[in-house]
Symmetry: C2
Amino acid sequence: MPNLAATYRLDREPDDLPERLPEPAVENIRLERVMGVLADPLRLTIVQRLLRESEDFDQTCGWFGFDRPKSTLTHHFKALREAGVITQRQYGLERRSRVRLDDLGHRFPGLIDLVLAWSPASEG
Amino acid sequence: MPNLAATYRLDREPDDLPERLPEPAVENIRLERVMGVLADPLRLTIVQRLLRESEDFDQTCGWFGFDRPKSTLTHHFKALREAGVITQRQYGLERRSRVRLDDLGHRFPGLIDLVLAWSPASEG
DNA sequence: GTACTAGTACGAATAAACTCGAACTATAGA
DNA sequence: TCTATAGTTCGAGTTTATTCGTACTAGTAC
């Protein structure tokens, strides 16, 4: 495994990074859409883990370690991206995701904190 | 039309009010469920209008003036109640709704503000 | 009592979401 | 070039939501 911190640090210049996959512009992010996409526990988990455990660089699909078919994961990541919650970039073979922190914070102040504070049903 | 402000003011004692219809206890309100229920524009509108236009007393289904069959409205109000977003009380013939402001504010600080700030897609 | 009203319950049709397997694409490394 | 890897795309089955019409219930008013 390569040194991700060195290779994919987010403090690089934007020019260094691969293009973002298609996603809505900030002003087109809709609250009802975001709510809908965060209504799913798996997707809520994805966003929360990106927020809690992955501050300084993007993460791949596989990093999460979900025991689900790849096509299912693709489906959920795409849903998150198309709703405007995450950005995805193609790093060679890998497609890495990060939360659109600034955009969401600007459009929907407080939303990120709700996701951070969430605890899954199985937990206490 | 009777004087609602006098008849149904919320600063009455709880004993004066009809029972609440079945709803989850505060600690059982789940964020993913709330998100799911607020993903629908009609329901988001219901909650927003209750918040913006109805601070001092509960409102009936009909008060909103939606041009939808009654059974559709029943469906959505029930969804909101079962998710823990609103409380409903039976006042004689009418079933009046109000947002569970304290409960939601306590469980999910910031959520109410998101709903208040929301603007429907058709608007600017 | 009868009639009106506000809303529920049920059932069916349609639409949307979730899940997954199988086949595929594109990159990386030997 | 061959192989492994990380992920996509497509299609189908299943589930869940939405919408609505019709029939019903429970208060209210006369």
